[in-house]
Each structure stands twice: as C-alpha cells, then as structure tokens.
C-alpha cells in the first residue's frame, strides 16, 4: 500500500474525535469553503453545514481499514463541498448559479479526483448498508447498534428484555444471517 499523505492524520482525528486536531483542520480548510460558498449564492450557515457534513462523511471513510488519503485533505473537502453545493442548487432549480460555477472549469489534481471517487464509492456503500439494515426488525437493528457501541452482551440483554448474554449471541447470529440474505437479494 502506498504511503499516506501527511494529512491522513486528520482522518485519524475524525475517527478518534480528537477535538484539538480537528480544530487545526477547521483552521486549515474552512476559510476556502466559506469564501467559495458565500461567493456562490450560499450563506454562512450553508457553508457551515456543508463543511460539517463533509467531515461526517469522511469520518465514515476513516473507519475503512483500506482507506488511505493520498491528497491534501483541504482539496478533498473542498471538492466534496463544491459538488454537494452544486447538487443542492440543482435541487432548488437555481440553474443560473450552477452555470456560473461550472464556467469556473475547476479541475482538481488527479490524486484528489481519485480520493473523491473513492469517497463516492464509500457513500454508495453506506446507502446500501443503511438500506439493508433498515429492513431488519427493530430488535435486530437495536441489538447490532448496541453491540457496535461497545455495550456488553449482558447489558444489551437487559436493555432489550432478553433472558441472558447467550440469547444475545443467538439473536445476533440470526440477525446477521438475515442481513446477509437481504444484502444478497439486492
């Protein structure tokens, strides 16, 4: 695997919720996004929401064991925010602003394009997993989420009204079997 870009540390900070390093990321990358959104028909609140959601989505990528950042993180965040803002403008039928942005002919470097494509794949995968999880029973969803939060099987049993930790193991097995069937049916 190639060596990661030095900015990969910001992905680690997202995964570990390290507020000090994340503040450095805001200092580094927020001014560009802020300036661009304000210049393209958005408000400060729009810029703030776009930036935050971009980081939340990258937090998911940061949990993928094979996700290795190969470009400056500021460039990737800017590309995500830019494309999300264009989608929002299109949804609101603000076509004149979309044309103005597209006339800029912004072309990111190839490493940023590759990182963005990988990010898009992660987002599609997220949608696929969200959709299959949503088809599981409420109890299965709660059980899988509790265990993922690090709640012990004994505590999960108590919270979900199951008799003991063994029942939790059995139910988890059944839930995952059902989940796999749903995944394969897609």
């Amino acid at each position: 695997m190639p060596l990661p870009h030095p900015d990969h540390r910001y992905l680690t900070a997202l995964r570990e919720n390290d507020s000090q390093t994340l503040e450095a990321l805001y200092r580094l990358a927020s001014p560009g996004v802020q300036q661009w959104v304000l210049a393209n028909g958005g408000t400060m609140a729009d810029a703030r929401d776009l930036f935050q959601e971009a980081l939340i989505s990258l937090h998911r990528s940061a949990h993928q064991p094979d996700f290795c950042l190969q470009c400056p993180i500021g460039a990737l965040i800017f590309t995500i925010c830019r494309n999300q803002w264009i989608s929002q403008l299109r949804r609101k039928k603000r076509e004149a602003e979309v044309r103005k942005i597209e006339a800029e002919r912004y072309i990111p470097e190839s490493a940023t394009v590759s990182a963005y494509e990988r990010w898009e794949e992660d987002q599609l995968e997220k949608q696929r997993l969200d959709a299959t999880l949503a088809q599981l029973s409420e109890t299965c969803q709660q059980l899988l989420r509790l265990l993922a939060r690090g709640i012990s099987p004994a505590e999960a049993a108590e919270r979900l009204g199951m008799s003991n930790a063994n029942t939790v193991y059995r139910r988890k097995n059944a839930c995952l079997t059902r989940w796999r069937e749903l995944l394969e049916a897609k």
Binding site: A45, R48, I56, H63, L144, T177
Partner: protein, 245 residues
Amino acid sequence: MTNEENYLRIEAYLQGELDATERAAVEALAERDADFARALAERRALASHLRAEAGADALRFTLADLGAKYFPSEAKTARLPRPRRQWLALAAVAVVVLVLTLGGIAWWPAGAANYADFARHEPLALVERGAADQLPSRAEAAYNAGEFEQAIPLLESYLEEHPADERARLALGVSLLERNRDQEAVDIFTAIAAGKSSLAAYGNWYLALAAVKRGESAAAEAFLRRIPTSESYLKAQVERLRAAL
C-alpha cells in the same frame, strides 16, 4: 465447516479474539475459499459501518462547536438608514401585535420561535403492566397528564431506584423545564446529550428548546446542529424549529 462455525470464526476474528496462528488460519481460509472470503468481507464492511455510525453522534457534537466558532453567524439583514428603519420596525411590531391580538395568541418575548409551539413531549412508558398505586405507574400517569409539578418528586424517587433509566431522567428534565426550573433541567439535558445513550439527540433537542425559551436563537441553532440527520423522529421537528428561528 458449517455456516455456524464460520459465523463464530468470523465473529472472533473481527472482535480481535484470535491469536496470531488462528488469525493466519482465517486469512488462509479466505484465500482458498471464495464464499468464506466474501462472507468475511461483508461482515467486515458491516462492522466498520456500525462502528462509524456509533461514533458519528459524538463527532457531530465536537464539529457543531467548531462550526459555530469558524463559521460565525452573519447579520441576517442589511442595515437601513436609521429614520426609515425605525419607522419600519414600529410598523412591523404594530402589525405583529395586531395579528397576534386578533388571533387570540399569547405574545411570547423569545422571538419568532415560540417554546410552547415546540414543547410537545413524547409519552413516558416506565412500566408495561403494574398496579396503579406503584411508583412507576404514578410517575408515568402524572407526566403523561402534564401534571409536571406532581411528576417531579415521583420521577426523582423512581430514579433513586433506577438511576440508569435515561427515559425517566429525560422526563424529569422536561418536567423541570415545564415548571420553569430551567437550570436544573439544562443540567439534566446536558448530561444526556453528552452521554452515549440513544437519547443523546433528545438531550440536544431539549437544550435547543430551553434556549428558545430563553430567547437565545443562536444557542438553539447550535444545539440543533448537534442532532444527527439520521434521527428520523426528530428530523421534522428540527427542520420546523430551524425555520422558525
């Protein structure tokens, strides 16, 4: 190897419960058995997905604070020359007062968003079955009837016996807020919002409502930003309150 054995093996592998030899055996099996490799990859993807989802709420909390600092709220309207602005302000106040008076609506000084419009609390269910004179039943009945003064001591007693019941704690916070014991309520909501329970989003929702009650729109917005968009039950309410702020 049966599916059950494969399941247990993958589970132990992903939980980091295998020693180096056992891990190598799992990886070797994945190399020669395509079905096992696929099952392992899928389970690994789900585990990463759920882990990320579990961490997203706490991250949102951190990012909301940083967002408020690095994306400061802008002035909402351009400043008009003073005489015209005063005239317009007086006219606007007159129209609003007239409309509210004619409509029989109580004036609320907190701004456009009115606490009472959003203070709709989910019913509390502490017991599935129980005699009416038992403490949980009485606390539940008082809360659900909107008898918050009466619900407060009952919920406090209940929580002494069930300190981990976050739903009861949230209900106590709501009752205190309704009885204008705002600081005590805010302390409870802050603890719930900072915790890892599934009610963390509700902690932030009620912190936003408490801010609306104080007339602090910016603070309310900051709390709303901490609520994950995946909170489907709160989503519509959050959007409505945002629009009113």
